[in-house]
Amino acid sequence: MKYFRMAFVFVLAALAHWWWTTYLSFYGVAPHLLLVMTFVVAARQGPVPAMCCGFAWGLFLDVSSLHLAGSSSMALTIAGYLVGNIRRQVDVSSIAPQCVILVVGTWAYFLFTGLAGLVVLKHFLWPGWAVFLLAPFYNSVLGPVLFWAWDVGVES
């Protein structure tokens, strides 16, 4: 049953991310739902499920984008690994640490994908100032909601 729920959450998150970024983005700014979900899975389930989900969600993003296939999957895999290990040292059940992790993690994600582009394509993949500055806070607002939804919908 747990695996069915996980599969459902996986598909639902991918669809929700695609739908939000396609139809609800405001001047190109939308929360990075899949990054936040990777953090949620890592915080609640540990690094292995988070890395697997992050990698698959990253593939979804890579297929959707024309630039640098593999960067998103690697970034989300590493994000799942790091947050899954951080949870041993940081209490990720309260809102404040969640928000901090999400803000820092989003910036790290942008920097990582940008640097990956710089290394492979010789071109820093810059998302733009609006996205770089606003998306982390957007994610930090969305994060606690998704943590709560996960606790209620998957782990209850």
Partner: protein, 272 residues
């Protein structure tokens, strides 16, 4: 020992997934990577396709809901109108039938020297079905007590009853089928006279016929000139069957089938 093994597993998975990602980044145009991308695209594209289609349908939901509500309102109003049309149609049929009856009655010849007023049967009590009906004319229209009440059947006048009670604008008709009703009448095959009496049912009884008279089934029975209420020669009905003779009685009786069933009459003519 156990945590160490878990960490090693995590590290192996991390290294594997990162290696795949790195290969995809470094070898984007190689055949295996393109195959993997094509496969992943093949897996995810239906999601996006279905999502887009679902979104389009969701976008149509408000307009569809509006259309549905409008259709529901139209449906309700059409149902009301349909019911109203049904009533109008029934009324039209009734008026058409009434028109046909009244048109036929225009050709009727009134008894000499008598005026008439047409009336509509407005009440018929199931408890007194063969006894009385109420009509919508009264003293104001010149209707008097004991006035003859006739109906028309196939172009001729037929006895229905007499006025037994007169109001200002309504009257009550005592039908010939009532047990207290009697009419002097004769058989058309001869000049044998008798007295028609009601039986509280759809059939009448003609009494006091001469015991030697020959009665033929189907003979017409008409009002006699000796009737104080009805003009002579008005049709009452036909002989249905003779009753068995009673040896202790000096007359014979026959059953009469009324020319018009008083229970089905809708308009009547009242003679003044």
């Amino acid at each position: 020992m156990k945590p160490h093994r878990e960490d090693r597993t995590v590290n192996i998975i991390l290294a594997s997934l990162c290696s795949v990602s790195l290969l995809m980044m470094l070898l984007p145009l190689s055949r295996p990577i393109r195959a993997v991308r094509a496969f992943v695209g093949h897996v995810f594209e239906p999601m996006m396709f279905a999502g887009a289609e679902g979104t389009e349908r969701l976008a149509l939901v408000p307009s569809r809901a509006r259309q549905l509500i409008v259709a529901d309102i139209e449906n309700r109003s059409l149902k009301d109108e349909f019911a109203r049309v049904g009533l109008l149609r029934a009324e039209l049929e009734s008026l058409r039938a009434e028109n046909a009856r009244l048109s036929a009655s225009l050709g009727l010849q009134l008894p000499e020297g008598r005026g008439a007023v047409w009336a509509r049967v407005m009440e018929r009590d199931p408890l007194t079905w063969y006894q009385s009906v109420a009509v919508d004319v009264g003293r104001a229209q010149g209707v008097g007590l004991n006035a003859a009440v006739l109906a028309q059947d196939e172009g001729q006048l037929v006895v229905i009853g007499r006025i037994a009670e007169v109001g200002e604008r309504t009257s009550k008709v005592l039908l010939v089928t009532d047990e207290f009703s009697s009419v002097a009448a004769y058989l058309s095959s001869g000049t044998v006279e008798g007295l028609i009496q009601g039986q509280g049912s759809e059939r009448l009884r003609m009494n006091y016929l001469h015991s030697e008279a020959v009665v033929v089934t189907g003979d017409e029975v008409r009002t006699s000139a000796t009737s104080a209420t009805f003009p002579p020669g008005i049709l009452i009905g036909t002989v249905a069957k003779p009753y068995a003779r009673d040896p202790f009685l000096t007359f014979q009786s026959v059953e009469i089938r009324p020319a018009v069933d008083p229970a089905s009459v809708k308009e009547v003519m009242i003679l003044k």
